[in-house]
């Protein structure tokens, strides 16, 4: 970080907005760049989101709770959260393993498998849902009766998150502590458990949280493979779509607001983890 220069550049040709007054900004173009940014954000994000919140506010709290606590909606939340949690745990375990293998070991086609990890990021969700639904049914499972297919698809969708958050940390890990532990007689597993993993913990948790958040809101891939029976195998986003199709905007908003609240909580948790990590450093 360069220190601020001792001479202050007065007469900076920038915006005069009081609350956004830039300090010591010499470069031109702040006004126009900031103006366009704020305009775009307002039109695309802020106004629509405000619309959602206002609509949610228009519901009486009675209506709100009635919608949220109706058995179908509760079941949908249960399915969404449960499947997402399970998928996140699977990704947490295998993601850690895959990251470890990619960083620590060399084997033929390692780069190829490393590139494979990014596929769920790039593959459109409809394709993922389609092919997993097909594989699932040809393997003999009936996805109308079991929610395991949802977990499978959510695992696919969240696969890169844990691996890609843990991999850089693992790579940057200095071997000093490990070597010290080994020289003091620790077994490999003990070294992993007490020396390596604590250093990976924040990144691993962040990856888990990201995978979980992604899985909760996932829609495109799940609707191919879910039984979509209300009360049993319907995910929360599907409930929202059903309500929208019936033009029950208020109820759809209620469900969406809860989903949004959950996502934002997870986002805050991730930021909290990052803040906690930085404090530890």
């Amino acid at each position: 970080m360069t220190r601020a220069p001792a001479i202050s550049f007065s007469g900076a040709p920038s915006s005069r907005w009081l609350f956004l007054r830039p300090r010591r900004n010499v470069l031109p173009g702040f006004g126009i760049a900031m103006g366009y940014t704020l305009l775009y954000l307002s039109l695309i994000v802020l106004i629509p989101l405000a619309g959602l919140l206002i609509k949610a506010g228009q519901l009486s709290s009675g209506e709100f709770w009635a919608t949220i606590s109706s058995p179908q909606v509760v079941a949908a939340y249960r399915v969404s959260l449960g499947a997402a949690a399970l998928a996140a745990v699977i990704n947490g375990t295998f993601g850690l393993l895959v990251a470890w293998v990619m960083v620590r070991y060399t084997f033929p086609l390692r780069r190829f498998f490393d590139a494979l990890i990014d596929v769920p990021f790039a593959l459109p969700t409809a394709v993922a849902g389609l092919t997993f639904a097909d594989l699932y049914s040809s393997a003999g499972f009936n996805y109308a009766t079991s929610n395991a297919g949802i977990v499978v698809v959510l695992t696919f969708v969240g696969l890169p998150f844990v691996v890609r958050t843990v991999q850089p940390v693992l790579q940057e890990l200095s071997s000093d502590y490990e070597e010290a532990a080994r020289s003091l007689g620790a077994s490999r597993f003990y070294t992993f458990r007490r020396v390596i993993f604590p250093q990976l913990l924040p990144a691993w948790l962040a990856g888990l949280a990201l995978a979980f958040a992604r899985a909760i809101g996932e829609y495109g891939s799940v609707i191919f493979i879910a039984g979509n029976i209300p009360g049993q195998s319907q995910i929360a986003p599907m409930q929202i779509v059903t309500k929208l199709d019936d033009f029950r905007y208020a109820e759809a908003t209620a469900i969406a607001v809860v989903l949004l609240a959950i996502s934002l909580t997870i986002l805050l948790a991730i930021n909290g983890i990052e803040w906690w990590t930085r404090r530890r450093m």
Binding site: L27, P48, L159, G217, I240, Y249, A256
Partner: protein, 317 residues
């Protein structure tokens, strides 16, 4: 021990990535290469043959038309959404990375917002805004706009074979305009998120030097900033396009299950839900998306490689 771990990792990746991808191609070609091609290109059968005999060809022709209109819709939306988002990304990154102001962190979080919102909720937001009972419902239902549509007019009439016509539309929700806005919402962070750390890491030194040498705003941007960020910009644009073309949830909510409002992912769902087309149809269209994903990954790797090569040579210089 290490071999066990390696094998587990390889098996996991094979099961979850290679097998599904291979399945798409296998299923797409399960009815033969001919059927695969006919999903996209089925010439209109001769109308002199009685309908009973040309029923299948007619159906295939109609389906191929619908599939092609879905492809055109997807490309059209991406062609508008990506440049808009690119402009936004550059502007936002310029404002955020090169200047210090209060509320910077909030702005960055706002830009990250679409990532934490479920696509269905994103679609819902716009339905609430533009829908009949929505906030701007009155204005939105009577809003007219024109959209250029491209059609192939052949080389007979003029040298340029693509004809452009302006089509008028009314209303926002359940039209391509809403689909465009929903796509923009879901994809606008990509370019900004790639550029902001990049431009922050590059700092303001070079731009300040240019300013002291008398360069004006656009000159600084064009001659100093743009060459430095070109790989990051390309990377962001690649991710943005891939996501724009593959987006399903938000577009599905806002398109209203209308045949005219199909994009490629929506067409995949439509073909899957109607087994009369044959299993291979949905997979054939899905194979385009899979190809898109593979091209995206290849381009992404190429850009990463090129930018690393560039930074190595510039640091050596």
């Amino acid at each position: 021990m290490r071999y066990v771990l390696i094998i587990i990792a390889i098996v996991f990746l094979t099961l979850f990535v290679i097998v599904p991808l291979a399945n798409v191609m296998t299923r797409a070609l399960s009815a033969g290469v001919d059927a695969y091609v006919r999903v996209f290109h089925a010439p209109e059968p001769d109308t002199s043959i009685p309908f009973r005999e040309r029923r299948q060809e007619t159906r295939e022709h109609a389906n191929a038309q619908k599939t092609w209109s879905a492809i055109r819709m997807t490309l059209g939306i991406a062609a508008v959404a990506v440049p808009l988002n690119m402009l936004f990304g550059v502007a936002a990154a310029w404002a955020i990375a090169k200047f210090r102001f209060r509320g910077r962190a909030l702005l960055i979080s706002l830009i990250d917002l679409p990532f934490s919102v479920s696509p269905v909720v994103a679609g819902l937001i716009f339905v609430l805004l533009f829908g009949r009972q929505g906030w701007l419902g009155e204005w939105a239902t009577n809003f007219t706009w024109s959209w250029p549509t491209l059609s192939w007019s052949g080389f007979e009439q003029s040298l340029w074979p693509i004809a452009v016509q302006m089509e008028r539309h009314v209303g926002i929700i359940f039209t391509p305009l809403a689909m465009l806005i929903a796509t923009v919402f879901v994809t606008f962070p990509f370019v900004a998120r790639t550029l902001i750390p990049l431009m922050e890491a590059q700092g303001t030194d070079e731009e300040l030097a240019a300013a002291t040498l008398g360069a004006g705003g656009w000159q600084i941007f064009r001659r100093v900033t743009l060459p430095n960020i070109k790989w990051g910009l390309l990377y962001g644009v690649i991710l943005c396009s891939a996501r724009a073309m593959g987006e399903f949830g938000a577009v599905s909510v806002v398109a209203g299950h209308l045949d005219a409002n199909n994009t490629i992912p929506l067409r995949v769902e439509q073909l899957w839900m109607e087994p009369a087309h044959g299993v291979h149809a949905a997979f054939a269209v899905a194979s385009i998306l899979m190809l898109l994903a593979i091209v995206t990954l290849v381009l992404k790797t190429a850009v990463e490689w090129a930018s690393r090569a560039q930074s190595v040579t510039s640091s050596r210089a």
